[in-house]
Amino acid sequence: MPPATTPDDNAWRALRRRRFLLGRWPWRALAHTMSTLVVWVVFAIPCLAVGVPIGGAIAELSRGQVLSASGLLLLGLALGFIVLPLLATPVLALDRWRARLVDPTRLAAPPRAPSVPGAWLRDRYLTVRRWRYAGYAAATLVLQGAILATVSLLATSAGALIAAPVLVSDEDPVSVGPWQTTSSSAALLLALLGLALLVGVVYAWTAGACLQVALLRRTLEADHARRLAEELTEVGASRTRLVESFDSERRRIERDLHDGAQQRLVTLAMGLGVARLEVVDALGADHPAAHGVAAAHEQAKVLMDELRAFVRGIHPKVLTDVGLVAAIDQLTASLPFPVTVTSSLTTRPAAHVETTAYFAASEALTNIVRHSGASRASVSLGRDGGDIVVELRDDGHGGATPRPDSGLTWMADRLAAVGGSLGLSSPPGGPTVVRMRIPESR
């Protein structure tokens, strides 16, 4: 048996253990059940404010006064409407505090009410959450009352039964219902019965307390789950914004390089080209000066190619100017094996879709070159439902699996950031098919 004091231990777990009665949980649960009395006393007065007009309405109705009955009923309901949400906050706070007697695990706290009066009123009376709390308050006051009453009744009965051997005498029979006895052996039997009932009562009050806490937990966590969902949506949106700002930053860098360094470099290489001609004309091709200028010219050309490849990796101009199909077409042109590009797109997708599709396809093609051993590949682009679908096939040896830090994982992350998805089929022996879907609208 685990020690009774593990941090996540609670009355509900203890209830299912054999030595439950010997531990501290029955006493804690009892304290919880008894403290219901305090809750009741504290809230009896505000509840009366609602209860009295409704009671009055029932009385009027029994006298046939329909009009005054409905008036009182309306008054009761209106008071209930005003009082219940107000009542819910302290009920919830008290119950949340008391719940630790039964389950020390902290319960999610209800959110704070706004301090601006207008917002406070709206929050209090016009939100689903507050009305759920109000519903809880109403339900729990009834439920806890019922539990307390039942437990008290059963406990009293058990007490009376246990006392039977002491109370019984020939003149003073003990009766249970219609059955009476004056025999002391029968009384002893009753005492045993009472003892059994007492054990049952201990279980009952613990179960009752657990039930009440479970209800409280549900009430608070329904909210918690929704808040988590809201936060997740916000995190998703911020990830999308992050990727988009990343993309626009790349475009900006590409533009700056294109307008600045690239243009300057082409002009420089051109100038060196002219100088090369001049030097050859003036001094002949074999002159050391001609060699020097020629070498500088060639170097500038190499640098130009490298810068162009670098800029293309940042963000290819053809993607912005002409579109996704042309950009992928150009990308495949430099690969060491033939790639067929087919497209059924008749109009250009949105810029962020094109950028995502381009870089994901680029990564997929890099993977094919590096790992697949393919001799042929194909890329097809199209629309399906509201999605842009890009499918890449290769005739390589297959067996591709996404690992952390692998290209496939990067692609999946990149696609997920814009609400897209990645499908992969790569049986050993191939072929490998990668299918990317990107929703056109968010």
């Binding site: 294109h258 307008d259 243009q263 300057r264 082409v266 002009t267 290489a269 051109m270 100038g271 060196l272 080209g273 002219v274 090369r276 001609l277 001049e278 010219h297 500038a300 050309k301 130009m304 190619d305 162009r308 293309r312 290819p316 101009k317 053809v318 100017d321 002409v322 042309a326 077409d329 150009q330 042109a333 033939p338 067929t340």
Partner: protein, 211 residues
């Protein structure tokens, strides 16, 4: 000739280069509208234009060139930032593909070759960037019928070089090139032709059809 290029630095560099190559630059402009106006004003023998220009920075230069060529086969060399075959095709489809060139912008640094390409276009010839030809050729399965050497000759042919220029590049005799060209044309079912430019266009058309 008229030059259109939006980058100031590069435009000035190009003017210097073109004049060094013996061309008279009568007007150097920075956008497509100014290009059309300059052509109307000067009626030049050659236009060299950047494809990507203000205001939209997509294919303004190309559109202007094609528009100019609807009136007459004005020799035009269009410079492109990247290989886009649709651009090359638009140019080849204008004025019967004569007197037109499509080159990557980077080619201007190979000064002598660039000058040669401009002269070919002024003379009514067709010049296509080697990169475009390379892309067209690597996609055409029927080219498997050609030998390695024939494919090399075909590439140079498609770029717009004459038999003599091809012979010089490959360091073979012109007669050998003539033989290769004959073989290529018959293997591709193209009519033999003495006019080298008609031959270039036939080859380009064939490559585009089999792309």
């Amino acid at each position: 000739m008229v030059l259109a290029e939006d980058g100031t630095l590069l435009r000035e560099g190009l003017v210097g280069l073109l004049e060094r190559l013996g061309f008279e630059v009568v007007s150097a402009v920075g956008d497509a509208e100014a290009l059309i106006a300059a052509v109307d004003e000067h009626d030049p023998d050659l236009v060299v234009t950047d494809i990507r220009m203000p205001p939209g920075y997509s294919d303004e230069g190309l559109r202007a060139a094609c528009r100019l060529r609807t009136r007459r086969a004005l020799p035009v060399v269009a410079l492109s930032q990247y290989v886009e075959r649709s651009y090359a095709e638009d140019l080849l489809d204008s004025a019967g593909g004569r007197a037109v060139g499509y080159l990557l912008k980077d080619r201007v640094v190979d000064v002598a070759e660039f000058g040669q390409a401009l002269r070919t276009v002024v003379g009514g010839g067709t010049v296509v960037d080697p990169e475009v030809v390379r892309q067209l050729m690597r996609r055409s399965d029927p080219l498997d019928r050609l030998t390695e050497r024939e494919r090399g000759v075909l590439a140079l042919l498609a770029e717009g070089h004459s038999n003599l220029a091809i012979a010089e590049r490959l360091v073979v005799t012109e007669a050998a090139v003539n033989k290769h060209v004959g073989n290529i044309l018959s293997k591709l079912d193209l009519p033999p032709s003495a006019d080298s430019n008609r031959r270039v266009l036939a080859v380009l058309t064939w490559l585009r059809r089999h792309d």
